[in-house]
Symmetry: C2
Subunit: 339 residues, 2 copies
């Protein structure tokens, strides 16, 4: 038995080749499932690879192929339930497709930060980008930098450009609004997401559209920041006037804060005020009272998004781009208004 030289370097295909008595190219063929390899040869090579615990070097492969098999994710508020579950789904889908995922977080939304994050991604020669913080501004920067790779976004309205995955937020918001109107509410407030966020915009539009269609007078939506804290403070402010019987919040966290403020004021839900949220986070069913909300299937969204992007990178069978229709989940936080 020849001495097993204790080389410090990890084994390469040439090491495998030498021990298997073949050329390095043959080893490469085994790695890539080339059709024309004799079974016996393949087995022998495989055996040596196992013995050596050989791992292909990704950098070398990327360099030589000129392709990184990495996609980038640009995300804001990635610790929130929605984005986080989408990211997880994207990662799983990517891994399944043999891709790697690299995430860059947006801590703020000024152009410099966005550009820095994009730079970080581009530096890794990503082949595509998924944008999860669909702020208008991000797209401006994307367009302006004339990004050289395909990109898609989650949670857009689908109307922005060809890159968006249509999740029909508008009809989700309309359904929620319609639910309140059907119950008999006429004085309804809308607690919207931050200005500049595409999904906040879409939900607000859905609200306004439905109110308009049903001929119910509206007040200007309040722009929030998605947090429960904001919902609480907004609620306190609103309750000083108390000229409404229902509120549609554009996410569940703000709805939670809102309900907190309403109870603090000694009012009952839904007796005095009905509340509707958006997202259906897993906790929503256990809020007090359990929250009526609009369910979004974030993981499915992530998967679809990934499929879309992969299709852009290397056109395949063509993905179904039809919109996902969100579903209204009626729980105990809504009821007819008291007069």
């Amino acid at each position: 038995m020849p001495a097993d030289l204790p080389k410090s370097r990890a084994p390469s295909i040439r090491d495998v080749a030498r021990l298997a008595g073949v050329s390095h190219q043959t080893v490469s063929r085994v790695l890539n499932n080339h059709p024309s390899i004799r079974d016996s040869t393949k087995a022998r090579v495989q055996q040596v690879m196992d013995d050596l615990q050989y791992r292909p070097n990704r950098a070398a492969r990327a360099l030589s192929r000129g392709t990184s098999r990495t996609i980038g994710v640009l995300s804001a508020s990635s610790s929130q339930y929605g984005p986080a579950s989408s990211i997880a789904a994207i990662q799983d889908a990517a891994r399944e497709a043999g891709y790697y995922v690299n995430t860059a977080n947006l801590t703020s939304v000024d152009p410099e930060t966005i550009e820095a994050a994009l730079d970080h991604l581009m530096l890794q020669s990503v082949e595509g980008i998924v944008v999860i913080a669909p702020q208008m501004r991000v797209f401006d920067v994307l367009e302006q930098l004339s990004i050289a790779v395909p990109y898609v976004t989650l949670q857009s309205t689908g109307s922005l450009n060809e890159h968006g995955l249509s999740f029909d937020q508008i009809s989700g918001a309309r359904a929620a609004t319609r639910h309140l109107i059907d119950l008999g509410h006429r004085n309804i407030y809308h607690l919207a997401g931050p200005q500049d966020w595409i999904e906040a915009e879409a939900r607000m539009r859905g609200f306004l559209d439905e109110m308009g269609a049903m001929d119910v007078p509206t007040t200007a939506p309040i722009l929030g920041d998605w947090t429960a804290d904001f919902g609480y403070h907004a609620g306190r402010e609103l309750l000083r006037v108390r000229d409404f019987t229902a509120i549609f919040s554009s996410n569940d966290q703000m709805a939670l804060g809102l309900m907190h403020a309403i109870r603090d004021a000694g009012l009952s839900i839904p007796g005095d005020v009905s509340v509707v949220g958006f997202d259906d986070i897993p906790e929503a069913a256990h809020f007090w009272p359990p929250l009526t909300t609009v369910r979004q299937d974030f993981p499915e969204l992530g998967r679809r998004c990934m499929a879309l992007l992969l299709d852009d990178i290397s056109p395949g069978p063509g993905e179904h781009r039809e919109a996902i229709i969100p579903e209204l989940v009626v729980r105990a936080s809504t009821g007819p208004p008291a007069f």
Copy 2:
């Protein structure tokens, strides 16, 4: 002006070198801030790089240097608030240090899945791994595979091995338990996390330790799965007997479900039952009633974890490994027992 040949390939250092009238090595030196470069030369090269929109090729660099500057994150339940915020912090810290992060999700905990996820990470030649799903089993697999790179874990007790970052979960849990005992409770249940999770184990230990130290008789903890749904169902079961006045839940989500069940049974919180959670997720302050809980600084945890790992990869000034002490946040969900 020479024709600007429309090459399809991205510019390389040699392209830059040619246009700047220097050797490719000089360009490389500019890239790496080599000290011995004449300012004028440096400026000229930089100019050409800007003109060409030159981006260094990461794969080539990794191949040549033999280092990927990538760290891997192995994570379970990455869509939950705690892990998600830690991951975000890790990514930020890594980016700041010039590292890239690649995440692999664990959808289940059987050895094959863990091994596959690790494989995925190793295939990218990561230089270090952060384990966020600190299940015992994961460590077994890690040890067994004799992973060739340093790794650290969040949220361990610090006692497991030298890889753990000490977040003193035990004293956090003790503080929570002590709070209940001090209020006068003597019949206290503990709703623990899943078996095999290190942090669940640590919190349980803290609970049992404190109960023992204060000479309060204990019942066996109930093993949950971190979800609000589980908390709700566990609560319903427990209330059929109702031989307790307080419950310490090992996370906020389960505490939420628990409170839901308690209210469903027509009982009041904290009048009939006091509830304590763990984590202090942003929503906890707006639960009904606002939840007494133990605050964990997840972002700080992520940052520290990253510092530790980077220090392992290339020993530096030596990081402070002292434990983070969690803080008890008393809100309205706890009070003295009614007799």
